[in-house]
């Protein structure tokens, strides 16, 4: 036990003596959350739209008002005919046109099914997708209110869960869990793999191996400081999300923290595994960046929706730990669900953790070859 603490203290010295490590550990997460958060929330603000209303009734007026008063959209012009749509986009001022079919309100009342079309400028695909889904959200929201007043009429409701639960329709809701998954993965895996390969490079690993320390003691001693660091980071990100971006934690905080620790452990064991493969710090860094960071961003559903991916990428995304952690985070934080809804994802993370720990302990040699 004394040996273990001696090791942990030494690791903390390494961390605190190196300004760059500290900066990476604490500066970059904060910066990333803020940057992602603000970029995303600025993206959808005062988007200019045009309305082509063939109906001009009470419902279409209400929906229009609701959209314009949401803060995301600004009415640029009213159109009177289809032919005006393309010129409107051409000017570059209008990003979206909303079209109500004739007799919108009466159709909705009678059949419970009315057509509203959203045409958006997809030259910037992401923004296009975002504003479309925001609009859908607002409309859906309105329909829900209507339904609340009069439950006897069965309105058609598109129940796309993401929008449904993200009632405020803030991009931050998507980005904070994603950023958190990415940062924890990077910090935990990158830092441990680098700190272990550094010992190999400096030749100190040789002496540690020759000492009576067992591999598991070396691994635990290396890893525990980073569990603490990564956990502090996770809490920092949650606090930032809560105070700066008003991201709620609807579910159990304890469960959230426990899941976070599980995910950190997974990332650390991945880091150890990388260090058993990589010969030097440079290689460890490359592997961490290429194998962990890019796929986390691209394949975890953090930025690009998984359901839009080709099937093979969907399969690939299934082996990305962040994908499952993001689902867990969204469930607990936004939906407020408990372990019953996320036990599958939790089991997957646990399985991955034990595989990597097993592999690492097996690959971590008591000798040099």
């Amino acid at each position: 036990m004394k040996r273990y603490w001696g090791f942990v203290i030494k690791e903390f010295y390494h961390i605190f003596r190196d300004f760059r490590t500290l900066l990476i550990l604490f500066g970059i997460p904060v910066a990333q959350v803020l940057i992602f958060g603000f970029v995303v929330s600025n993206e959808i603000r005062n988007i200019k739209i045009s309305i082509l209303d063939y109906s001009h009734d009470e419902v279409t007026e209400k929906i229009t008002n609701k959209i314009i008063s949401s803060g995301y959209f600004e009415l640029y012009s009213h159109l009177t005919d289809y032919s005006q749509i393309e010129p409107a986009f051409r000017t570059g001022n209008v990003k979206e046109v909303i079209i109500f079919e004739p007799g919108f309100s009466s159709k909705l009342g009678k059949t419970g099914d009315a057509a509203l079309r959203i045409v958006s400028d997809a030259s910037d695909a992401n923004t296009g997708r975002l504003i479309t889904s925001y609009t859908q959200g607002i409309v859906m929201n309105y329909l829900q209110e209507l339904m609340g007043q009069n439950t006897s009429v069965p309105f058609t409701i598109d129940t796309r869960t993401r929008m449904y639960f993200n009632q405020g329709m803030k991009g931050v809701y998507m980005f904070v869990p994603g950023t958190m998954a990415m940062i924890l993965m990077l910090i935990s895996a990158l830092m441990t793999s680098i700190s272990i390969t550094r010992e190999k490079e400096m030749g100190t690993m040789e002496v540690l191996l020759v000492s009576p320390l067992r591999p598991i003691q070396i691994i635990l001693g290396k890893v525990s400081p980073y569990i603490v660091m990564a956990f502090i980071n996770a809490i920092m990100i949650l606090i930032l999300g809560n105070f700066v971006f008003k991201l709620p934690i609807n579910g159990s905080l304890v469960l959230l923290l426990l899941e976070t620790i599980l995910y950190i452990t997974l990332a650390l064991s991945l880091g150890i595994f990388i260090s058993t493969v990589a010969k030097n710090q440079q290689m460890a860094m490359f592997i961490s960046m290429l194998v962990l960071m890019l796929p986390t961003i691209l394949l975890s559903g953090f930025i690009f929706p998984i359901e839009n991916m080709p099937e093979i990428l969907q399969w690939l995304s299934a082996i990305m730990p962040p994908r499952w952690f993001i689902i867990i985070l969204k469930n607990i934080m936004i939906k407020g669900t408990g372990i019953l809804f996320i036990w599958k994802e939790t089991l997957i993370l646990m399985g991955m953790t034990s595989i990597f720990i097993g592999l690492s302990v097996k690959r971590f040699k008591i000798r040099l070859e």
Binding site: I9, R17, E206, V207, L209, P212, R367
Partner: protein, 300 residues
């Protein structure tokens, strides 16, 4: 019984044979030197001794323990200084020492008397980061770290490489004090002149031990006739000239002089005539370690 017993040790990396049938024994509290150039197999040998590498065949016993089977027990009784000083550059002198002490389940106080002589020299800098120490200081700190758990066997892989001459002398003085504590020391070096500081010396080249002897007996490996020629200036010109002579078996530069090897008495007479004719000052000498090493290399 010997403290270290190495028997018929073989080690290859792919096609390269790093160690070819190495055998030797080291007595308790002896300083055993392994001298040879880079790539001779010193580091491979030492890594096998410290249980860091597995031999392909052959056996090594340290204090009666087998380095393969009893590696965990071995690791408690050896102190090891790898080729590069294995210190944490971003930890202070004191922190390095404390860390290695706890790793080996010991403390500075427990074995202070053993490292006192070394430690008093580095103590004034104990708050300084190891990375900021001079080469000689780093070397002493690394030695303290290897000694902190009072090992029975001390394995030092090229401890004097990259360290200045004064520090090297001081380092060898320290080893002789440590030896008096009953600690067995096996040390490697590429510098032939350090042979004199060992109790016994093994000369190693291309994975083979060419000779093992006391330093004062090394010259016995040299069986030919050896002359030292001192031309004053122009040793290189002289070297080129005499290499063309028939009687010259071997000639090498030794600083500002030339060492000439002769095989037969006839060659010797011919050379002496030449020296007289050319007014060359020369004298017959006993071989030094470098002469012997080169001779053994030729035979190998």
């Amino acid at each position: 019984m010997s403290e270290i017993q190495v028997k018929n040790l073989h080690k290859s990396y792919g096609d390269i044979e790093a160690l070819k049938d190495i055998s030797f024994e080291v007595d308790k509290s002896e300083i055993f030197g392994v001298i040879g150039p880079d790539g001779a197999g010193k580091t491979s040998l030492f890594r096998i001794l410290t249980s860091l590498l597995l031999p392909d065949s052959g056996s090594v016993m340290l204090a009666g323990l087998d380095v393969v089977k009893d590696y965990d027990k071995i690791r408690k009784i050896i102190g090891y200084m790898p080729g590069r000083f294995s210190l944490y550059q971003d930890l202070s002198v004191e922190e390095n020492l404390n860390f290695y002490a706890t790793v080996f389940g010991s403390s500075i106080e427990e074995n202070y008397d053993l490292i006192r002589d070394i430690y008093v020299q580095i103590e004034p800098f104990k708050k300084r980061l190891a990375g900021k120490l001079s080469g000689g200081m780093k070397q002493k700190l690394a030695l303290s770290c290897a000694l902190i758990h009072r090992p029975e066997v001390l394995v030092l892989d090229e401890p004097t490489t990259g360290v200045d001459a004064v520090s090297r002398v001081e380092f060898w003085d320290l080893l002789h004090k440590i030896k008096l504590e009953g600690i067995t020391i096996i040390v490697s070096t590429p510098y032939m002149d350090e042979a004199a500081r060992c109790d016994r010396v093994a000369l190693i080249q291309k994975g083979e031990i060419m000779s093992i002897s006391k330093p004062e007996a090394i010259h016995k490996g040299f069986t030919r006739i050896l002359y030292e020629l001192s031309p004053g200036h122009g040793a290189y010109r002289l070297l080129k000239n005499i290499r063309n002579e028939e009687w010259c078996a071997n000639a090498w530069l030794f600083g500002q002089s030339v060492h000439l090897t002769l095989d037969t008495n006839k060659e010797e007479t011919e050379f002496l005539e030449y020296a007289k004719r050319e007014k060359l000052s020369s004298k017959k000498i006993t071989a030094g370690i470098e002469d012997t090493f080169m001779e053994l290399m030729r035979k190998a």
